[in-house]
Symmetry: C2
Subunit: 310 residues, 2 copies
């Protein structure tokens, strides 16, 4: 397996929409810069948290163009390239490779169910074969609670074996620590990222590469501090603090709630917009969420977030 | 609600692929002609059975162009226009309207889960509002076993109320007769098509519009005969015969099995190809399926299929 550059705290970046419902490229670029300034090690744009599947292929390609043209280092970017259709996944992955992106996050084809491992293997093989680039780094995106279709432990091994240069890692958003642990045990050297910082310390202790977490959109500093100090005496306390923020957020629908938090702390109400079928968090729940975060000292605990937004 | 033209036996048309994995426009056109010759009342191209979500938007648009240019009457076509992203659904629906298609079949956005009715309502509303055409006829596509996300009974009523000119029918592939019956009871005049001919007679007796069924790809004559004679003394026997074919097919993975049957009876092995993540039916199971069909007299019972293929 070739060396791969991603490690640490990656953020599946929220996508802002304009009042008329279009992707807001300027706000997106500004937010990506801010996340990197906050200490994010990489940006997993066009993930589930990004409402990527609510955007057309053309919209995603144009946003990626805008980020790279705006100076975001392409090697820090891990765009989602997953799709139900091979040609769509190929087009997005090739676009990412052409830009020099550090990797792509690849959902399995998620419409048909049930799908056998052989069928997913054939799909991923077709994508890699058609992109035909030694520069392609694929991170498998395992998120059965949403996609329903997932990458089984055995299938991951078959993909690594078939494409050792290309299939280099996995984001595990199963929410099932035993699956993450099994991946780390079975495939040493393979870059496994749990999909939540709740499992970050445990993952790092077993050789994990970091985490790719929605909550990174609002708490890079807290998670990055844990990542930087995971072998130190403060590790468990830092994990506890990061977990507290996550659990507070998880009491609300994650994407609309994150957007409300960004809108609040960046003093930019436009950020609250989502694209259907997502629904914005209503005013009552938004106030409750901000109050819950105040209770755990989130606002006070991360003053850099306020400063950076001004 | 405006009058709508679709009734009877609609076929969600299989999509042939070439040896290199591209949609085979010539075979598709020829097969669509044959289905209409067999007595199909309409062609619901780009449904689940069509592997539509394994094709890019551009591939689907090009196939539709080819059918219309090839002389298939557009008013007989009900292309699938569903997508996870509003702009994709709008583009496909507008393309269908521009061609004069009789309607479109609209999946709900199927990536994010769970999705509230309000979110699906906002999605469908955005699609209809953006297509902005009085000619748009939407048939809701309810298939929770595959899409997971579905149209609840209440949501159907809200959509009819919001868009009485546009939302004119529904394909119910829930496999749950009680849901189909409830739709027929609650929304008289709304064109309800069960997604299987197994429910055709029961549906017609309650005011249903017909059926849209995968098995139509191989058994239009049997199903059309039932549709034509549903009030006659032979109705139950015809339902029994159609159901026997369906049950035989259902013992196998439906799409690869249907393609094998088409390949066999049309004497055209290329038809067996599927696009990943679907897997072709292997030789052993294919032979078993053809033998099962022979046992129920399917080959002998539908000689027109053989003749038309020659």
């Amino acid at each position: 397996m070739t060396a791969q550059p991603f490690h640490g705290v990656l953020v599946p970046v929220l996508t802002p929409f304009t009042a008329s419902g279009e992707p807001d490229a300027a706000r997106f670029l500004s937010f990506c810069r801010w996340l990197l300034d906050q200490g994010a090690n990489g940006l997993a744009i066009f993930g589930t948290t990004s409402e990527a599947n609510s955007m057309s292929l053309g919209e995603r390609m144009a946003l990626l163009d805008h980020l790279v043209e705006g100076g975001i280092p392409a090697e820090k970017l891990m765009p989602g390239a997953g799709a139900c259709a091979i040609p769509d996944a190929v087009a997005m992955a090739r676009h990412a490779v052409d830009h020099g992106c550090g990797g792509v996050l690849l959902l399995p084809p998620f419409y048909y169910k049930p799908v056998a491992d052989d069928g997913i293997l054939a799909f991923v093989s077709a994508v890699i074969d058609q992109v035909r680039s030694a520069a392609l780094r694929v991170y498998l995106y395992h998120i059965p609670p949403v996609a329903v279709v997932g990458y089984s432990l055995d299938l991951v091994g078959r993909l690594i074996e078939a494409y050792p240069q290309n299939v280099v890692g996995l984001k595990d958003s199963s929410g099932d620590w035993s699956n993450t642990a099994a991946l780390l045990d079975r495939y040493p050297g393979f870059a496994v990222f749990p999909g939540s910082e709740v499992f970050l310390l445990e993952a790092l202790r077993k050789g994990g590469a970091g985490c790719i977490t929605a909550t990174g959109n609002v708490n890079v500093p807290g998670i990055a501090k844990l990542y930087a100090n995971w072998q130190g005496p403060q590790a468990d306390a830092l994990q506890g603090a990061a977990t507290t923020v996550r659990k507070t957020m998880q009491a609300y629908p994650m994407v609309p709630a994150l957007k409300r938090v960004v809108a609040h702390f960046h003093n930019d109400p436009a950020w609250a917009a989502v694209r259907p079928p997502m629904e914005p968090l209503d005013e009552v729940r938004s106030r409750a969420l901000i109050a819950d975060l105040a209770k755990i000292g989130f606002a006070l605990g991360e003053p850099r977030q306020r400063a950076a937004a001004e």
